[in-house]
């Protein structure tokens, strides 16, 4: 069986990740894959076969319109597997296509591969406490967990175009406030210094910043600091409902280590933690831990690190 795979994400870096999975899947099964994009806005970096789906209105402004156009194009091309990036909009697009095309669908899947004529993969459940097996009959739609795959090298192949005419959107995008890029790039960061409830006031984040600067790391946080306190913007929030990271070193400062937080840091190479509470669950999830007050331990670490630089 020659399997035909589509790789799509509305986000170009994620599309690259999805394409790498599609490429491996097609390679292993002797199938083919196409990288699919919307409008003209997102240039397709990779893939020997590229397809751009367009309509008479911009598709990137509405996941509903994007799903309608993609489903329309998929009816004609009939790919056996539609891979989508499991971003927030990606999950909506996958779910809508699943209903429109009458296909089974799973989200947040990693380790996806074709085995015995089915799409097999895994996903985290119960806030990452368990891993579950996912098995979908073909044809199917799978939203792939973001940040778990490598990217493909760029290709200069020309894209073909598919115009689907008119698609409707029941919602109207009034304003898109882009978050500042560059200030936070936690997903690709090699070293992350992360703060939790152990920080008593907003000003004390300076201590965490000092350590991040000394180590050349990015700053992350657990949910309370961004959602409840508002001390850091939401894009710093690492965890189940925030972002997933996989740095070489994840340093958790004053973070208790709830399942939801640990779910976002599992793929880190080394995890270290500082916490006053010896029984905090973060120590169970760490390679190295210091039982102590971060207000004393961070300055001591800074001193130690500075001493080494000489």
């Amino acid at each position: 069986m020659s399997v035909k795979i589509w790789a799509f994400s509305e986000s170009p870096p994620v599309a690259n990740e999805v394409a790498s999975v599609a490429s491996a899947m097609a390679g292993a099964g002797g199938g083919s894959f196409a990288v699919v994009g919307l409008d003209e806005s997102g240039p397709l970096l990779t893939g020997e076969e590229k397809l751009v789906v367009r309509a008479d209105t911009p598709l990137s402004a509405s996941p509903e319109a994007a799903a309608s156009a993609l489903a329309e194009a998929a009816k004609e091309a009939n790919p056996d597997v539609i891979l989508v990036g499991s971003t927030r909009d990606g999950k909506e697009i996958a779910a809508r296509m699943a209903v429109k095309l009458g296909r089974p669908c799973a989200s947040e899947v990693f380790g996806a591969a074709l085995e015995a004529g089915k799409l097999q993969g895994k996903r985290n459940v119960f806030a990452g406490k368990l891993t579950a097996e996912v098995s979908l009959p073909l044809p199917c739609i799978v939203a792939l967990k973001v940040g778990t795959n490598t990217a493909l090298p760029p290709s200069s192949a020309m894209a073909s175009e598919r115009m689907v005419g008119t698609v409707a959107s029941k919602t109207k995008l009034l304003e898109r406030q882009e978050k500042q890029k560059g200030t936070v790039d936690l997903r690709g960061a090699k070293l992350i210094v992360s703060a939790g409830r152990g920080i008593k006031k907003k000003e004390d984040l300076a201590l965490v910043r000092d350590l991040a600067v000394t180590l050349g790391g990015a700053i992350g946080c657990s949910r309370p600091l961004s959602a409840d306190m508002g001390w850091l913007p939401e894009e710093h929030h690492i965890g189940l409902t925030g972002i997933t990271v996989h740095p070489d070193l994840y340093l958790a400062l004053g973070i208790s280590g709830q399942l939801q937080h640990v779910a976002g840091i599992k793929d880190s190479k080394v995890i270290a933690a500082v916490n006053t509470d010896k029984s905090a669950p973060i120590f169970e999830a760490s390679d190295y831990g210091v039982v102590g007050d971060l207000y004393a331990v961070i300055p001591a670490m800074l001193k130690e690190l500075k001493a080494r630089q000489h």
Binding site: E64, R123, K170, D228, K269, A285, V290
Partner: protein
């Protein structure tokens, strides 16, 4: 305003026991209202407070789900609809179909609220499937909802942007946990919740003649803990040095 809020009774992940072979003991495990559903209920109650009307709680669940239903009623919802079926024994499409059928039967609703995903499976597929199945506008990942007249302005929290979207009512919305702080019911509210009306529906009457749907997710197992779990205790100067030494030996500190 007639508001429906969809909730799920889920195994409490913090109470879930795993045996030495990594197998979870799901049978009989303690359950709770899916964590983020409390934010959906809270938002429904706030919308009711601002625009008057009624809040109806809808769930697909076993008899255990009555506990979650009661909690939503204790928080201030007016009545409940329980679709008696086990969501763990079907796929997310079928759960969505059952919810959609129950919502159609008791509707029309001006607003249907969900959370972005359940705390057990966290697929995030049911809310957009509901919008699609009901043919209603759907807005996902709302961090702010402003209703005025027959339309709503919603701020969506996405990875790279905040999108401000306008949509006509009736509308399906999923909320993120940042949208509000869920209230705790008072003792009196908890006691009175049992007296509020709860209707039970069965899948056979909602979706007559439909074959059972199989779950797509199974074979759950705990991930083996592979962390070293070395813990240093003592004066900060000593523990900080030990930690920095250990991290340097791992090769994860900048040179």
């Amino acid at each position: 305003m007639k508001i429906a809020v969809c909730v799920k009774n889920a195994v409490d992940e913090t109470e879930l026991k795993v045996d030495s072979g990594g197998n979870p003991q799901l049978r009989g495990a303690p359950t709770k209202m899916s964590t983020f559903d409390k934010n959906a209920v809270e938002e429904a109650l706030r919308l009711k407070a601002a625009h008057q009307g009624e809040v109806v709680v809808v769930t697909v669940g076993t008899s255990e789900a009555k506990k979650t239903m009661k909690e939503a009623l204790a928080m201030g919802s007016d009545r409940g609809i329980l679709v008696s079926a086990d969501p763990m024994a079907m796929d997310n499409r079928r759960t969505s179909e059952l919810l959609a059928a129950a919502l159609k039967k008791g509707g029309p609703y001006d607003m249907i609220l969900c959370s972005e995903g359940s705390s057990d499976m966290y697929s995030g597929l049911v809310p957009p499937m509901l919008g699609e199945l009901l043919g209603l506008p759907y807005v996902g990942y709302a961090k702010k909802i402003d209703v005025s007249g027959k339309s709503a302005k919603v701020e969506r929290a996405l990875e790279d942007s905040i999108d401000v979207v306008e949509a006509p009512l009736p509308l399906v919305v999923s909320v993120v946990s940042e949208i509000n702080e869920p209230r705790y019911p008072t003792l009196i509210q908890i006691m009175q919740a049992g007296k509020k009306p709860m209707e039970e529906l069965i899948p056979e009457t909602l979706l007559p003649g439909v074959a059972p749907a199989m779950p797509l997710v199974g074979g759950m197992k705990a991930q083996a803990m592979t962390r070293k779990r070395v813990v240093f205790e003592g004066p900060p100067a000593e523990t900080a040095k030990k930690l920095v030494d250990a991290l340097a030996a791992e090769g994860v500190l900048p040179r």
